[in-house]
Every structure is written in C-alpha cells, then in structure tokens.
C-alpha cells in the first residue's frame, strides 16, 4: 500500500514528464499520437479540477453555517446566491446567442456591477495614497516616481499639451522599461524550466498536497 501512496505518484510524474518532454522533439506519428492523447485526457481532468474549487468553496461556507461561526449570515447569502444562480443557469442555460435567459439577466445586473465596482474602489485608494503615501523615500523610489509621473501624463490625451512629453513616455515604455522586463522575463524562463525539472524528477512535491 505504501508503494501506491508515495512511490507510484512520483514514478508516474516522472514517466508522464519524460514522455511529454520527448514528444515535443520527435515528429514521428506514434509520439504525436501520445502527445495528442495526453492533452485530450488532461483537458477533462482540468474540468474536474475546476469543479473541485467550487465544491470546496460551498463546503467551507456550509461548515461556517453549521457551526454558527460569527458572521455566518454572510455565508448564508453566498449559499443562497449560489443555489439561485445554479438552478437558473442549469435549466435555462447561459450565454445563448439571441435567447436571453434569467442567467444572462443575473450576469448583467448582479455579477458585472459587483465585481466591476469592487475594483473601481481602488481608484479612490490610489488617489488617497498619491496624497499621503507615495514618497520619494530613497533614490530608487524617486527614480520610480519620476518615470511614473512621466508615464501618467504622457500616455493620456492631456499629455499632448506638454511638448515632447508623449515621445519621452513612449521612449521610456519601449526601451528602458522594456529592457528591464526583458531581464526579468529571462530570469522567469529559467525559474520555469527549473521548476519543471524539479517536478519531473520528483524533487518538488508540494503540488501534490497533503494526504500522505
């Protein structure tokens, strides 16, 4: 039993990883068939992973309601919103062309205003931070603020009234800022390959989560 709990997943990760790695470099038909089959299967697994996220969310709020944890009233709101949308969405369907159902109505009048406004409040916080928090504490922070101020005005219609500002902002975006992000990207590429190698050779196991 111990084999299945610990050794088999690591061996499976290694086999799947090596097979998919070499499938990219071998144009022959059997390798391409294996590669295409693997993708079909993992798309279906990805669907189940999506559903797991939903189930754990409802599970979390149900335990909060059952245990009467303070603030469980809001969990009741979440669960009622969930069941109403689920019933309407499953039976009437959503996003059907030229058929408008209650599901589309809820998307338009509940989901859009709530999520869009939640992030729109950030504009107020940015303004208050601009007055009270954004200080040139160090030389680096002042360099950042100078570049930020040039871009804030330079990339907006009002910037055209200041000569050469939009060209300077465009140059900053296309050259120094681009080259720094190029350096970061190259670092991210190496980190990505290193992570993949660790997963294939079973050195990295955090993604498997607990349960052992």
């Amino acid at each position: 039993m111990q084999f299945f709990r610990r050794r088999f997943p690591i061996l499976l990760a290694f086999l799947a990883g090596i097979a998919m790695f070499f499938a990219q470099y071998v144009p022959a038909k059997p390798a391409q068939a294996l590669y295409s089959g693997f993708i079909d299967w993992t798309i279906i697994i990805a669907g189940f992973a999506g559903i797991f996220g939903i189930i754990s969310l409802t599970h979390y709020h149900m335990t909060k309601v059952r245990r009467r944890v303070p603030g469980y009233g809001f969990s009741v709101t979440t669960l009622t919103g969930f069941t109403v949308m689920l019933v309407i969405g499953l039976f009437f369907g959503i996003a059907q062309p030229n058929v408008k159902t209650a599901g589309d109505w809820m998307f338009l009048n509940l989901m859009i205003p709530m999520q869009a406004t939640m992030f729109a409040t950030l504009a107020f916080f940015i303004a208050s931070a601009a007055f009270r928090a954004f200080r040139a504490r160090t030389a680096e922070a002042s360099a950042l603020l100078v570049a930020g101020l040039i871009v804030i005005l330079g990339r907006v219609p009002i910037g055209h009234y200041i000569p050469k500002l939009t060209d300077l902002a465009a140059w900053i975006m296309a050259n120094p800022s681009m080259s720094a992000y190029r350096g970061i990207f190259l670092g991210v590429a190496l980190a990505g390959i290193a992570m993949s190698v660790r997963i294939i050779f079973g050195v990295e196991r955090t993604y498997m989560g607990g349960g052992d």
């Binding site: 790695f21 990219q24 470099y25 071998v26 144009p27 022959a28 038909k29 391409q32 979390y60 603030g71 939640m118 992030f119 409040t121 950030l122 916080f125 940015i126 208050s128 931070a129 009270r132 928090a133 954004f134 200080r135 040139a136 504490r137 160090t138 680096e140 922070a141 950042l144 603020l145 930020g148 970061i184 190259l186 670092g187 190496l190 980190a191 390959i193 290193a194 992570m195 190698v197 660790r198 050779f201 050195v203 990295e204 955090t206 993604y207 989560g209």
Partner: protein, 461 residues
C-alpha cells in the same frame, strides 16, 4: 573552488565590457547592414545578371529561348517530418532570371499520370527559406554561399475528387515510393526534363531544427539536478548577503525599542505558491529575533492551512530563542479569506494597534495598495518582499525597503538552506552567468559584423 573561478569570471566580464566600449568608439569598422532583428538573409532575390539595356532588335524573329540547365538534381525524403513529405533539390542554374519558373509533378508509378505538385519562381524556394527542414545549412552553411540550392518540398498528393468536385489532397503515405519530374518554364515556353526521380518518405525520430532547444533543456536540467544533489551534501553553498535581510533585522531592532506590536503578513495565496513558502521561511527568522524582546508578533492569515504552518513556525522560533513561554498562540489568527475584507480588516488592526513595523511578504493582488497606504499613514517602518510585478511599484513607494522578485526566493534559500531551493537558485545562477557572457560576446561579434552567431539562438520550432 566555485568561489575562486567566479571572481575570475567578473574580471573577464569587466574586460569584455571594456572592449565593447572600445569597439563602440571605433564603430566606423566595416559593418554589414544588420538592423535590429533583421530577417534572415536569403528571402530576397539571389544575385541576378544585370538585364542588357540594348533595345530589342526590330521585327527580327525572337531569339531562340535559352533554357537554364539545373545540375545535381536529386529527390530525397523530407527531413524533420512525420514521414509524409519528399523533396526535390537542384543547384541554381546560371541562366536563371526572374522569368524562370520551375514546376515539379508527382506520380504514384514511374510511367503513371504525373500531376503538378508545386511550382515556384527562380527567385524563391532556396534551402535557407526552409530552415525547419534544413537547420544545419541555415545555421552554418548559408552565410558562405547564400541562395545556391533550390528546394521543392511536397507533402500532399491529389487523390481523386471530393463531393463538391474539388481535388482532394491527401498527405503522402510513409514508405511508399513516389516518382517526381521537373519542368522548366522560361519566357512562356516550358520544357520537361525526361529523367524521373524516386523518393520514399520516412518518419524522423528527432527534429534537428529543435537541436538548440533540446541542447539547452538537457544541459540546464542537468545543471539544476547537479546543484540540488550538491546542496544536499553541503548545505552552505555560497549565497551573497541579501541587503533586505539586514533591513529586516534593523527594522525589528528599531521597532522593539518602542515596545509596540509587529505586524507580519504571509501574502494572499496558499501553500502551493513558492512565494508563500518563502514568506514563511522569513517568518521563522523574524520570530527568532522578536522572541527576546517584549513586543508582540501579530500574524493575521487568509488561508487556514497557512495559519497552521505559521503557528508551528513561530512556536519553533520562540523555542529556538530560548523563550518558549513568551509564545502566545492567538497572536497568529485567521481573519477572512475574502480579498478585500482581509485588506480592510488588516487596515483596521493597523489603525487600532498602531504596530511599529509592518512586514508584507509573499504574493499580493490589487488590495496590497490598501495595506501599504494605511501602513504608511500610521508612520510604521515597512518592509515588503513580493514577486508580483504589478504590486511592486506600490510597495517600493510606500515601504522603507522592498525585496524584488527573486530576492524573496534567495532570502528564503539563504535562511532555510533547504537543498531544493538552494540547488535550483545556484543552478539558475549558472544559467544567468551563461546568458551574461553570451550577451557580451555576441554583441561584440555582431558589432564587428559576424552575423550568424545570432541565428544560433533563433527558435525554429
């Protein structure tokens, strides 16, 4: 030993930068026009003889058409494919000009009906235009003698007609012999060469166009595994001092004088993300430092699993500092898992308890601005360490010190000395060292006009 040759590495890097500047000064050196990211040479027309400018003779019969005689015509399997392609190659004939057209026809048997497979002008279809099939020539051959060999790849054959009467194309079948013929059209008249060429498409088991990709993947993967193994044997591989960690110790020192609590956040994501693990490693060090002062360490969490791990780490930190009694479990508590309510609740703690130091470690999303702004307005010392590029600008302008991107992982490896983190950090450093050296060397070579070096790094995938 690794430490020694790395110093020599810096001296080489300095020398190389000096030569770059020297060369820049003398940049009047003969330089081919190789604009930034110029397209590979060869797509343009080959060197053609200048067309004679003498006026054509009056009503005399037009001169007999001179057909170009391509040499060394041969048919082979198309390399780097899954066995559904053949190719006809022949050298560029001297008499070619932009009115020459080649047509290759294919048939299932030597005498069988030949159907036209592909036709192209003399200016195109050179070997270097098909870098996917002939990468070797593309990388090394083409600069010496550009545009000399014509290639006609054929991957489909017409087999009958589909229901709308349009010819149905089918890929060639592996292992079947196909017969090719070449026809030349010059100034409107065509002549078909009598010879018939045979070719058998076969499957290829390694795509040579991806050799630079494969080489880098194998070598870099081996380096990573080598350093992880080495880090297991000797955990104190050299990592440079991280300035951010000094700032953390200094902030704790200044904060504990005032006796007010210290606030520590582990980021918004759960244990599956590297940045949360790094934040928890730094939490261990902070709790060891804070243990021998009176000030209280407050750690509000957003994820139940991270909460349990954080409690474990802080208790261990207090025990290591010899003050297990000072540890108070409910100073590490679960707040809420919703993004904005968590930020609002933490801002409430900042306004109420007025902590003297705030630590924002781990991965953050749009709500980080609320945390950093409230913290700055309470006048606390603030240190941030995150790898979320979109939130870094706000941390840098509102915090006293910010660890950027990979510094978060480096400090976690520096503190925990865990072979997995340490080994991959060193391995990635080797990758960066390789990039730095190649950047300098190749720039110098390119400035001097050696162009093919850049094509070695072109992805032909």
């Amino acid at each position: 030993m690794a430490r020694l040759n790395l110093n020599r590495l810096t001296r080489i890097a300095v020398v190389l930068t000096a030569t770059v500047l020297f060369l820049l000064a003398r940049s009047a050196f003969a330089q081919e026009e190789t604009g930034e990211g110029a397209e590979p040479v060869g797509a343009g027309p080959g060197v053609l003889e200048p067309v004679p400018l003498t006026p054509p003779p009056a009503e005399e019969a037009p001169p007999p058409v001179v057909f170009p005689q391509p040499q060394n015509i041969h048919a082979t399997d198309l390399p780097n494919d899954n066995g559904t392609g053949v190719a006809l190659l022949f050298d560029k004939a001297a008499a070619e000009n932009d009115r020459t057209y080649y047509t290759v026809s294919i048939a299932l048997s030597a005498g069988g009906p030949f159907a036209e497979a592909t036709s192209f002008g003399a200016a195109g279809n050179f070997k270097e235009n098909f870098n996917k099939y002939y990468p070797g020539f593309y990388w090394f051959g083409r600069f010496r003698n550009p545009n000399t060999v014509h290639v006609a790849p054929i991957t489909e054959i017409v087999t009958g007609v589909d229901e709308q009467g349009r010819p149905k194309h089918e890929p060639l079948t592996t292992g079947k012999t196909y017969y090719l013929k070449l026809a030349i059209e010059q100034d409107g008249e065509t002549m078909e060469l009598p010879q018939v060429f045979e070719a058998v498409p076969k499957q290829d088991w390694f795509n040579t166009a991806l050799s630079n990709n494969f080489l880098f993947a194998v070598i870099f993967g081996a380096i990573i595994l080598f350093f992880i193994a080495r880090a297991r044997r000797d955990p104190n591989l050299f990592i440079r001092k991280i300035a951010g960690l000094e700032a953390v110790d200094e902030a704790i020192g200044r904060a504990t004088e005032m006796g007010k609590p210290i606030l520590y956040l582990n980021g918004m994501s759960d244990l599956s993300s590297l940045s949360t693990i790094a934040a928890l490693n730094i939490l261990g060090r902070v709790s060891r430092r804070v243990a021998n002062y009176e000030s209280q360490l407050t750690v509000p969490c957003r994820d139940p699993v991270v909460l349990t791990v954080a409690q474990e780490i802080v208790k261990q930190g207090y025990a290591d500092a010899g003050r297990p009694d000072a540890f108070n479990a409910d100073s590490i508590f679960f707040l809420t898992s919703d993004q904005f309510s968590y930020a609002a609740a933490v801002s409430g703690i900042m306004m109420r308890d007025r902590p003297s130091a705030n630590f924002f470690m781990g991965y953050y999303y749009a709500e980080s601005l609320i945390l950093a702004e409230t913290g700055a307005s309470t006048g606390a010392i603030q240190i941030a360490a995150t790898d979320s590029a979109t939130q870094l600008p706000f941390f840098i302008t509102t915090c006293d010190y910010t660890l950027i991107g990979e510094e978060l992982y480096a400090s976690s490896a520096y503190l925990s000395r865990e072979p997995l983190l340490l080994g991959s950090l060193k391995g990635q450093d080797m990758g960066k060292a390789f990039m730095m050296i190649v950047l300098l060397v190749c720039t110098i070579l390119l400035t001097c006009g050696v162009v093919f070096v850049k094509e070695l790094f072109r992805a032909l995938g």
